[in-house]
């Protein structure tokens, strides 16, 4: 198990390097120019100077090498310094955004909480709803509950968030005025009233995102439980005289969770991507929103860094999913 984990960890290094190269090369092809936002009144010589100040002129491999060093060597040092008060990174060049001329990572760190709150909460809510729904629909296959559950999850599956988002926004924020239209990132929860405000502003984005999660996971759960309900060991459990509740909730669910847990783990990075739309629609200033804006203003270092952070998340959660699989299923032995 340990060898397996270490092996996978080490394998992920070339994978990540390769991904970073792909992302980097892709971005280098960009025809856009970070200067496009500068007003037309600014003369070309000035623009040229600004461009040079951004380090645009250097050869590709130098830029890539610099970026690698900055991302893999200097940024971790900064994090280390932050936590332990050391000064390893003192005076070293970090990954700098072309938009705000400051370290990209600082802003990423600033924004991650928003994303985690909304996206994470949506995921948790989605998982908490979907698992019981999945179990019950499988247990009562083709019952009214199952049929309607299937229908609702199908809808959740099919209706895109960029449709539900604005629609719900208009209904609940503009027409009814129950919730704010825009997410306030500065809001601090300190008492009941402010908690209520926080709840109100989170509910729409969370529900829109959770709808998708619920739909997907409950379908997986249903299929998985159905698969297991037909297994021989369930019959054995019943022949012992166990009650249905124990048979289903202990024997079946435990087995059904194995594939579903990995689906859940694998889904986490995907929803960061999916959150881009939700964040844009509801004005949540998370990393998805950051990504879109960086892309629109040709802020290549930020785009690069964020794309790469997404890649790291995916690789990481893939690894977690694999390891979890081994932990949950005694039959899997990695050596």
């Amino acid at each position: 198990m340990l060898t397996f984990t270490i092996r996978r960890l080490l394998l992920s290094i070339p994978t990540l390097l390769f991904i970073s190269l792909i992302i980097f090369l892709l971005l280098q092809l960009a025809p856009g120019d970070p200067m496009a936002q500068v007003p037309l009144t600014v003369p070309p010589e000035v623009k040229q100077k600004m461009r040079e100040a951004l380090g645009l002129g250097e050869p590709i491999y130098v830029q890539y090498y610099k970026w690698l060093i900055q991302f893999f060597w200097i940024e971790p040092q900064v994090a280390f310094d932050y936590f332990f008060g050391t000064e390893f990174s003192e005076g070293k060049q970090r990954v700098i955004s072309w938009q705000w001329r400051g370290p990209v990572m600082d802003v990423v760190v600033q924004r991650l909480p928003q994303t985690f709150w909304v996206v994470g909460m949506a995921y948790v809510v989605g998982v908490l709803i979907s698992i019981p729904v999945g179990i019950y629909s499988a247990y009562r296959q083709y019952s009214v509950f199952d049929q309607s559950g299937t229908f609702i999850t199908m809808i959740g599956f099919s209706v895109p968030p960029f449709f539900t988002g604005p629609l719900l926004g208009i209904i609940f924020a503009v027409q009814l005025g129950w919730v704010p239209l825009l997410y306030d990132t500065t809001h601090v929860v300190e008492d009941w009233a402010s908690f209520k405000v926080q709840f109100q502003q989170m509910i729409l984005p969370v529900m829109v995102l959770a709808l998708q999660t619920t739909a997907q996971i409950s379908r997986y759960m249903r299929a998985s439980v159905l698969d297991n309900l037909n297994q021989d060991y369930v019959r054995t459990a019943r022949s012992k005289g166990l009650s249905e509740a124990v048979v289903v909730m202990v024997h079946v669910v435990r087995n059904s969770m194995i594939p579903v847990i990995t689906v859940i783990a694998l889904g986490i990075p995907a929803i960061f991507g999916g959150a881009i739309i939700t964040e844009v629609v509801f004005g949540v200033s998370g990393i998805g929103d950051m990504f879109i804006r960086a892309l629109l203003s040709n802020d290549l270092p930020t785009v690069q860094t964020l794309a790469f952070i997404f890649a790291i998340l995916i690789v990481l959660f893939n690894l977690i999913a694999d390891v979890l699989y081994g932990v949950l299923d005694p039959r899997i032995r990695y050596d």
């Binding site: 792909i22 892709l26 199908m154």
Partner: protein, 329 residues
């Protein structure tokens, strides 16, 4: 069962011949499929919407891009759908514009049809392309052991790419060159179809590979090899027909994601040029006027949702119908 008392000893041991006429598996699949109401609806709706967007322009012969001449625009724009007159007697409605017009006086029905054409074309093309890539890679790596390691590493790698972000990046990057080479519409079509396909074949590849690996161990493949069937024939005659079910299921999933992805790109403003409507684009263009003209958001939104819903239900039904375990029941 019409079983006479088995006094003839041999009769007692005879196999009961199947009473039915020979039926291919597909007949069974169809009869199972028919029972899935949702799938029938889904498939039906998909056919309907496809015909709607294909034939629509020949029936509803209004040019989606046509603007009213000159000052007529002021009277012909912002027409409401005809049914609004049911509750709002003052609404500006016109029989010649059953679903109303947009802020420039373009006909909404014609736009929905044209938008549907684009969305469906992208969906189908991307789905087919991604299936071809996915099946190809899946079959190669499942069947040829030597390729397996590298192809699967490659698949894993692509799977680790952050898809939506890269999709956006790719659209931004390649939009211009492709548009200048193939024209704004065709270039964008190639780009979006290509980008969606290139980023969505991996699941198909994995599933197909898994199926092929399992099938390869089945004795009929061994049997085929032992009777001297060539690799090519094993793949085309024995393997591919047997992986058709997972491929069809991932086809439906692929169609649904492709439609949604295209709409999402258009919604975020990374899609087709503005004079080339797609459902996603119509939707996002209409969002600012949502309170005043909710229909402009609802029509494309519902069109997308229903199509995807239909496709998903179709996939669900296909999965049930194609799964021999379920079909046996």
């Amino acid at each position: 069962m019409t079983e006479t008392a088995p006094d003839d000893h041999f009769e007692a041991l005879r196999d009961i011949e199947p009473p039915k006429e020979p039926r291919s598996q597909w007949a069974d699949v169809w009869s199972q499929f028919k029972k899935h109401k949702g799938a029938l609806f889904g498939g039906g709706f998909l056919v309907f919407i496809t015909l709607f967007v294909l034939i629509g322009p020949y029936i509803w012969r209004v040019d989606p891009q046509a603007l009213p001449k000159g000052r007529e625009m002021l009277t012909l724009r912002d027409v409401r759908p005809i049914f609004v007159a049911l509750w709002d007697f003052d609404a500006k409605v016109m029989w010649s514009r059953p679903l109303g017009t947009d802020n420039l006086g373009r006909d909404i029905l014609a736009n929905i049809i044209a938008g549907g054409r684009a969305s469906m074309a992208v969906g189908w093309a991307a789905m087919v392309l991604s299936l071809v890539i996915g099946t190809g890679i899946g079959v190669m790596s499942g069947y040829f052991r030597k390729l397996d390691f590298w192809l699967m590493r490659f698949t894993d790698l692509v799977l680790s790419l952050p898809i939506l972000p890269l999709l956006l990046v790719a659209v931004v990057l390649f939009r211009q060159p492709l548009r200048s080479n193939f024209g704004p519409e065709m270039g964008m079509f190639i780009l979006i179809v290509g980008v969606i396909a290139i980023t969505s074949w991996m699941q198909t590849a994995r599933i197909v590979r898994g199926e092929i690996l399992a099938l390869k161990e089945r004795e009929f493949i061994l049997a085929a090899r032992s009777i001297g069937t060539s690799n090519y024939k094993i793949i085309t005659r024995h393997l591919l027909p047997n992986v058709i079910s997972p491929i069809m299921v991932s086809a439906t999933l692929g169609l649904a994601t492709a439609i949604i992805t295209e709409s999402a790109l258009s919604f975020l403003g990374f899609g087709f040029p503005s004079d080339f409507p797609t459902w996603g684009k119509l939707l996002s263009d209409a969002v600012p006027r949502m309170t005043e003209f909710p229909e402009r958001v609802l029509f494309p939104g519902i069109a997308i949702s229903l199509t995807v819903l239909g496709v998903n239900y179709l996939g669900d039904g296909l999965r049930d119908a194609l799964d021999p375990r379920i079909r046996g029941r």
